[in-house]
Amino acid sequence: MKFFFTFFVMFCFLAAPAAEIAATPAPDFGREALFSVNNLWVMIGAMLVFIMHLGFACVESGLARAKNCTNILFKNTMTPAIGFLSYAICGFAIMYPNSHWLIGHLFGFAGWGLHNPPGPAIAYNGMYTYWTDFFFQGMFAATAATIVSGAVAERIKLSSYLCFTAIYVTVVYPLVGSWGWGGGWLNTLHFHDFAGSTFVHSVGGFAALAGILLLGPRIGKYVDGKAMPLMGHNMSQATIGVFLLWFGWFGFNGASALSANPAIVSLVLVNTMLAASAALVSAMCAGKLLLGKPDLSMTLNGCLAGLVGITAGADCVSVLSAIIIGLVSGVLVTCGVLLFDKLFIDDPVGALSVHLLCGVWGTLAVGIFSPEYKLLTQLIGVAAVGSVSFGAAYGIFFALKKLFGIRVSETTELKGLDLVEHGAEAYPGFQFFSNM
């Protein structure tokens, strides 16, 4: 995404023509048009990222039981709202401190709130406006929290989840992100994470892991040490969700080029689509081999896995590498789901396998498939981001647990969070066996 130094390069590059413009009153339509089209694509990209929140809402609620559906929808509706607001208050300023580093290149802060710099909009960085920058980055911010939402579903208290989200998006996500995208020490090391396999997906995945460990498995998930199928109530919804995520990912990855540069963006899109397709095929095959029958929800996870996997390197690997990254992701996610189940780590939607495992894999893959980047640097990045985000998430969840408790009562869990936390079912009137 945004590299600190590109910023300066561009700025210098633009300084000259800007002077020229001042000299001559004739409007430079070409420059303006280029600015408009770059800005437009980043804005549209942000909208596509926005629709991913609906994707998450559908996948997570579809893979949960009907009795908890309203609760999940509620969480997923509030997540982008809280994320965007808290990012406006200070997240954006922590993630992109510009020159305001406070502690080494580890922590910076550019000041509270949003402040559009004076002067012509094009002067901001020549590619898009300050508002577009915030709009795009703000949409990204909440996705990390949404990833947690699915993993802790069906047993976390609504209030605890909302608190966690607010804190995590306000502080942890931007802090860690600033190391790379904000021009911090990982960026100096030449660590590459194009659109966020690490800075978004792993950051979310590690928090999910912390949450799951502190919450424990859902009632009924393990009977005599054996994992039981607690079936998602609506496969149509889950499929709609995955397609919307896939669709939104074109913006997530494509607009992370931060311009409409035809050569880069189009390659990114092709790589994104190929990785997702390859992962679908490999997840289908892995599912068929390992489970006997092609499982829809696992195959859908495969698609997301491929998307997460290609996110770090979509701009710098070849199409063949993209296919390989996708194929590996599809297998990885299938094995991941089976493995986590065996480890008594109860993740209703497969968030760990998708976002954590494949986030790490995708980041490392950059070091493997792109000659420009080193595997070791990528490893350092993954380790540093992972330990800090896991630690912070664990700390936050732990504190919330001690202070208010994070898990609903047993009766609530059995009756369903919808009735107890919201007083209303998701599908009133429909008859279903609620013992499932």
């Binding site: 054996k226 994992a227 039981m228 199928p229 607690l230 079936m231 998602g232 390992l290 489970l291 006997g292 029958k293 499982d295 929800s297 696992m298 789901v337 089976l338 189940d341 497969g350 008859q431 066996f433």
Partner: protein, 113 residues
């Protein structure tokens, strides 16, 4: 008066209805049910976790008839529901003390039809 209750395979509902209509039994109440019996269940697989399911989908019929119609009703159900496979279902005949038509308040044998 008897209340005939039957649990049958869902896809046999239409043939049973037709067999009963052929015997001039037109009044039936139907409920969705699950049944657990000798019939083998199936393996439910979801995200790698598997479970033997032995509650299978069935349809429950309840038919109130006068005593002289009991045998015809049983015959009709058997004709429509039998496939000679395990799981075809059961018929239970319960004694019934009284039957009332809500609309008219009629009681007993006339109320049934």
């Amino acid at each position: 008066m008897k209340l005939v209750i039957a649990y049958i395979q869902p896809e046999r509902l239409n043939p049973v209805k037709q067999a009963l209509f052929a015997r001039e039994i037109y009044k039936i109440s139907v409920t969705n049910a699950l049944g657990c019996g000798r019939q083998q269940g199936y393996v439910k697989a979801y995200r790698g976790a598997i479970q033997e399911v032995n509650l299978l989908k069935k349809v429950r019929l309840a038919i109130a008839v006068n005593d002289e119609f009991v045998e015809q009703t049983i015959e009709g159900i058997i004709e429509g529901a039998r496939t000679n496979h395990i799981g075809d279902g059961k018929i239970f005949v319960l004694p019934m003390d009284e039957c009332i038509r809500i609309r008219t308040g009629e009681r007993g044998n006339e109320a049934i039809g």
